[in-house]
Each structure stands twice: as C-alpha cells, then as structure tokens.
Subunit: 398 residues, 2 copies
C-alpha cells in the first residue's frame, strides 16, 4: 500500500461517497428522517437524495418505517431508519468476564451473553474456545435473521494491529497470543473478528451512542480502570490508536519517578496508585472488594480507605493533567472500576486538573463517569465493525 497519494475520483466514487453520506446522515439523526429531510441535510436535490435512499433501502442498509399520519399539512413522509437486519458481533475477554454482544445498525443490542469468571492466568486457547462457543450459541439464537457485517474482539492489552496479535495482556497474564486465530477456529464460517484494545473500543461507546450517531462528547480522555488502567484519547470523535495501535497507555504515565516499581519495568506509574489492585492494597482491603464497598467505607470514615482514594485522585490528577496539557482535551471520562469511584475521586481530581492544566483558566476540564452496561469493549468492537459499513456502504451493496 501507500503507493503515493490515494487514487483519482471517478463518477462511481461520487456515488459511493454520496451513499455513505446519506447513510451517515440517517444514522446520525436522532429521529427518523424523510427523503426530503435527507435532501436538505445533505444539500442535494430531492431527486438525488431519493435515488440514493432507494439504493440503500434495496440493499437493506436503510429501512422504511410505517408512514405515520402526523397532524401536518402536505403529503406524509416515509420515515427512514438504519437497517435493522444488518448486525455485527462484538466480543470481549477480560480478567473478570467473557462477553459476546450482537448490535444492529440502529445500535440496539439484539442479543448478548456475558459470563463472569476469574480468567487471570487462564489458558488462552481454552478461554478463547469458551468465548467462541458463547458467540456461536449467540448467533444460533434470535439473531438468525441478521446479516453479519463483521466482528470485533476487545482485548485488555497491547494489540499488534498489523499482525492481529495480542502482544501482552498483563491482567490476563497472556503474552504473544494469536487470539484471532484461536477464536476463529471456534466461530462459524470464515468469521475473523478484528482485534482491538479494550479501552480504545470502550471509548467508542462514549464517542457514539449508536453507529454513526455522535455522543455528547467528541473530545475526551477515556479511562478504563481494570486491575490495571487502560485509556484512550478521543479527538474529534475519533479514537487515537497511534501509529502501531499502542496508544492510550495512560496507566503507565509516570506520577512520581521515585514511586513504587511497576510490573512494566518502570517506576511510579499511575496504575500503581489508581489501579484496582493498587488502590485496594493501599486501603488494606481484600482484592475482591467491590467499588461500591470502597465508597461506603470511605463515607463511613475509614481513614485508610480515604487515604488510598486521596492518593489515587492525586495520582490521577498529576497524570491526567499531563495528558490534557499535551492533547487539549476538555473532558475526562472515567470507566471501569473508576466510574463507580467517581464520587469520591471527582472533587480532588477536578481541583488538580484546574491547577495543573495550563489552559484551565480559559476552559476547566470536566470529569464525567460512564454509566453503561458491563463489557463496554464488546459493544465498542461491534460499533467499530458497523462503522466500517457506514464508511463504505457500497461494499455491502455488492
């Protein structure tokens, strides 16, 4: 690839570009649009918009809803919706769960299976076979009518995007695993899920509420608190995966060079203060304590817990301020176990960001917490596959 400059645009390029535009427009709208609405929003004529819509409807990428007679003058419009029969499969392996989730183009969860289990130190082949069975089971269910547009696999570690390899997943204790190959052997057909970093994919669920529909935040830093801490920077609605796909390792930003040693070989990493294990250890609590219990104990006045939370907030403030200084992000979104701890963490964190971020005087970064279902990585993996359809609908039309 990378011959030089991309290729010249011809008439057919124009058509596919406009098809993608129409599809994105319908997906981005928060209420069903008519053909006339599409024409207005895309700046094309009604004739052209209708032609493009017809083609997308014929291909199943758009559905025509029931003409509901609103008390309006004029001919009633035919409402257009993203195709309900186009779906994608999102899979996730994490230290604490296996998940398979099926989403349609409207962003609805058609079916899902989530199995909680302690997978730390598990055998990759066995675990991925389990996930494959879970997914096969899911696909055999009510999803039979769905046309699968693709699949994705969220992995809690460094993924080599070029060779589709899981280089290292510290939480699982896995290294150099051909996760896609091991999984695909237990999936129907030639379904090869595209692997991705869990935090990168989970961040997508914040950036868009449904395929092609932008969420309230378009620029933010997402933090995925697991045993360790993953992250992803989202700029203009796009997840920054980096040149090799290794971006977002916020957990290993240095908070204090003289701090405790980290398993990554460095010292004083954020994860050593705000990671789940580190925080519970500092609080003197067993490692299976839930975030809710931590919050309760802090509220009850447990000094050790309060101190640990304070240290975590301080570490987060120092590390995230650095990231925000470099990337100019107006918001930080806490996910994973950090979402549940947002209450006690937020005041100190926001105060530190306000003090340590150079541009805070003009725009103070805000701290938000996600409140979604578990296994956001699986949802994000499905979203990514569906976004690929939105980017190039012609491939689906055949």
């Amino acid at each position: 690839m990378r011959t030089s400059e991309g290729t010249g645009a011809r008439q057919s390029t124009l058509r596919s570009s406009n098809l993608a535009l129409v599809l994105r427009t319908v997906c981005a709208a928060d209420a069903p649009l008519s053909r006339a609405d599409v024409a207005v929003r895309t700046g094309t004529t009604r004739a052209t918009a209708a032609r493009l819509v017809d083609e997308l409807v014929a291909g199943g990428l758009l559905d025509e809803g029931e003409r509901l007679a609103l008390p309006r003058r004029g001919r009633p419009a035919t409402p257009l919706l993203p195709g309900a029969r186009i779906g994608a499969l999102g899979l996730q392996v994490d230290a604490g769960l296996l998940a398979a989730r099926l989403l349609d183009l409207r962003g609805r969860v058609v079916a899902e299976r989530v199995e909680e289990d302690d997978l730390v130190g598990s055998d990759p082949a066995r675990t991925l076979a389990r996930l494959g069975a879970l997914a096969t089971d899911l696909l055999a269910g009510p999803a039979g009518e769905l046309r699968l547009a693709g699949a994705g696999l969220a992995l809690p570690g460094l993924v080599d995007a070029e060779h589709d390899l899981l280089l290292r997943a510290p939480n699982l204790g896995w290294s150099d695993v051909d996760a896609v190959g091991l999984l695909a052997a237990h999936l129907p057909d030639a379904l090869r899920p595209a692997p991705g970093n869990e935090a990168d994919l989970a961040a997508r669920t914040v950036a868009e509420t449904a395929p092609g529909r932008p969420g309230p935040l378009r620029d933010f830093l997402y933090l995925s608190g697991q045993i360790g801490i993953g992250g992803a920077a989202v700029v203009g609605g796009r997840v920054m995966t980096g040149s090799a796909g290794w971006a977002g390792e916020v957990g290993h930003v240095c908070v204090d060079p003289d701090g405790p040693a980290c398993r990554c070989g460095s010292t004083g990493c954020l994860e050593q203060y705000a990671g789940r294990h580190a925080l519970l250890g500092a609080a003197g609590l067993p490692l299976d304590t839930t975030p809710a219990e931590v919050v309760d104990r802090a509220a009850a006045g447990d000094a050790d817990v309060r101190r640990a939370l304070d240290a975590a907030a301080h570490a987060l403030g120092v590390a995230l301020a650095g990231v925000v200084n470099v990337l100019d992000l107006p918001a930080v979104v806490l996910g994973g176990h950090l979402a549940a701890l947002a209450g006690p963490l937020r005041p100190r964190l926001e105060e530190l960001l306000g003090r340590r971020v150079l541009s805070a005087r003009w725009r103070r970064p805000v701290v938000a917490a996600v409140t979604g279902p578990p296994a956001a990585g699986a949802t994000g993996a499905a979203l990514r596959a569906l976004d690929d359809v939105l980017a190039d609908p012609v491939r689906r039309l055949g």
Copy 2:
C-alpha cells in the same frame, strides 16, 4: 457551521478533488513528474490527468519546466513543478527574534528577514509594528512577482484559534493580545496572518520538507526548547492542535509533583528541569550562555553542568515516556535549544524511553534533533498557508 454531516458531492466536487489530488501528487514527488507520471500515480487516464494539469498550469499552481532531452526512447516529457509564483508569508515573534520569511509552492525561501533582539517584556503593539514593517519591507523586495496565497504568524504561547487571540505568551510576558489585529494594521492590503502556536508550526517543518512533500517522519513528538518548552504531537503527518488549539504543552507535563514551583501555578513541570533558563540556572551559568558553550563545558568535565544536563535528560525521559505511552509515537524530535544539546542528552533520554515506554520492547522510540535555520515557526506558518492552497486549489483558480 456544523449543520450536520458535510455536504453532498456533485460533479464539481469531483473536479476540485481531482485537481487537489494532482497538485498534491506533483508537490509530493521528489523529482518533476510528467503528465503521464501523474496519470499513473493518480490512477486516472492520461486524458484526464492532462486536462487537470492544464487547468493547474493555467492558474499558475503548476509550472511547466524546460523539456530536457534525456537519453530515453519516446517522446520527451514536459516536467511539471509546483508553481514558483505562488507564495506565502510566514511571520514569527519570539523572545529572541523577529522573523519574516517568504516561501513559494516549491518550498524555497524566496526572501527573508530575521532580526535578533531581546523582546522579553516588550510592548506588544510596538513589537508587532516592527514585525509589520519588516514584512512590508520584505514584500517590497524581490518578491514583487509573487502571488501571495496567505500568511501565518507563529506565536510562543497559547493561541485562541477561534478568536485569533494570543491568550498568554509567558516568554514574552504578553497576555490577551490581539496580535493579528495589531500586526495587520502594519501590513499591506487586507493581509491577515493566521496565528498559530510556534511549536505546532515548527513541527510542520519536520513533517514536510516542502508544501505537500512528506518528510522522513510522519509520527513524532516535536519539542521546541525556548526559555520554556513547547511541543507538538504529529500523527500521520498532521499536527494535533487539539479541540481549542491548546495542545502540545509538553513543558507543563509533571515530572515530579514535589518538584519546584512553575510560573504556571503547578509544580515539577518539565520546563523547570529542561527549559533553557532552568537548565542554565541549575548549571550555575549565566542566562545568555549558548547551548554550544554548555556542551563544551560538559565535555570539559564541568560537574555542575553535567549534573544539570543529567537532570534535564531524566526529566525529559520521564515526561516524554508518558506522552509516548499515550500517543504511541515512534520518534521524538528535539528543536530549539534542545537540538543543540541533543548530543549529551540523547543517551540517557533514549535509555529512559526504552525503559519507561510500555511498547519499547517491540519498537524503541528514537530521538532525533532538527538542524534547520532559525525561526522554524515562520517557515511553518508559511507552509500552513501553502498547504491550504493544496487542500483547495479551486479557490485559487477562481
């Protein structure tokens, strides 16, 4: 703006897109191309490529070179070059200099004026009037035949991209300055230079060697060492300016929360270890010592200087490793005074990056130093204006 989704593509969109493609292709090539070369590289037919080239030549965006008879079979080709009569003006104010530089579409410096002076604490109106006079003088010179496509102004501080305001330039001691307005009053015609952060613009000179011609590095972190330290992350050849244009403040990434207070209100900022003033102070040298002298003294065995350099390298290692962990950048480019110090800094810095960057095991970040003319910001400002022409040549064709 931001109505919804962008606008539908029509026939004319196709033409302008292909014009831009052809222009970019010629600019990106490192040897003059023929019409036939353009056809091959863009994937269009010779007929189409020739038509587009003709239009660009007529508009002055491309020039036809002399048909030089190479010892080759076949009809000799007409070499195509970026238009030599399209130019842009790059301006820069810095703590130590004023600069005006005129670049043409081929990336050649047509004319320049650089005045060194201590501008710390200077009066913005007066200084910008001086720069305006410098630029006016420059434009009256041999540049008379040049068609100005635009102008840019590099400023050493936070620039509000929306309102074209310089919010704060600590090195100059300026705050809330309408730099563009003050400058435009002393420029000919209705020339309003687009303001930008100095480091962002200087990073461009590394990312592209001429308008539209990619440099050897496409993903890197640029460090602009002045009195303080500015920076810019370049991803895929594009400078990440952030949602408000405030990105790249690497100088205020925290190295040690218990470190010295910074003028930004935070503590332990990178700039307090590796900034020019901080480094010279720690080395016990006067503030006007040149980087070359520092290197000499270190080589001569001056313990204080060595200690200061070591502390700077350590601080850079800690801070930059964090940035690289978050952005997955394969290279760090040292600019400003840090470029001259690259020799003594590099070993320790590369070692630290190798240890603290999570993905270093698979790809070790490299440290490079720029070796260009001074006032890279001015060059970058001109490049940006010329890149705007490349992005939309139709506007220039009228």
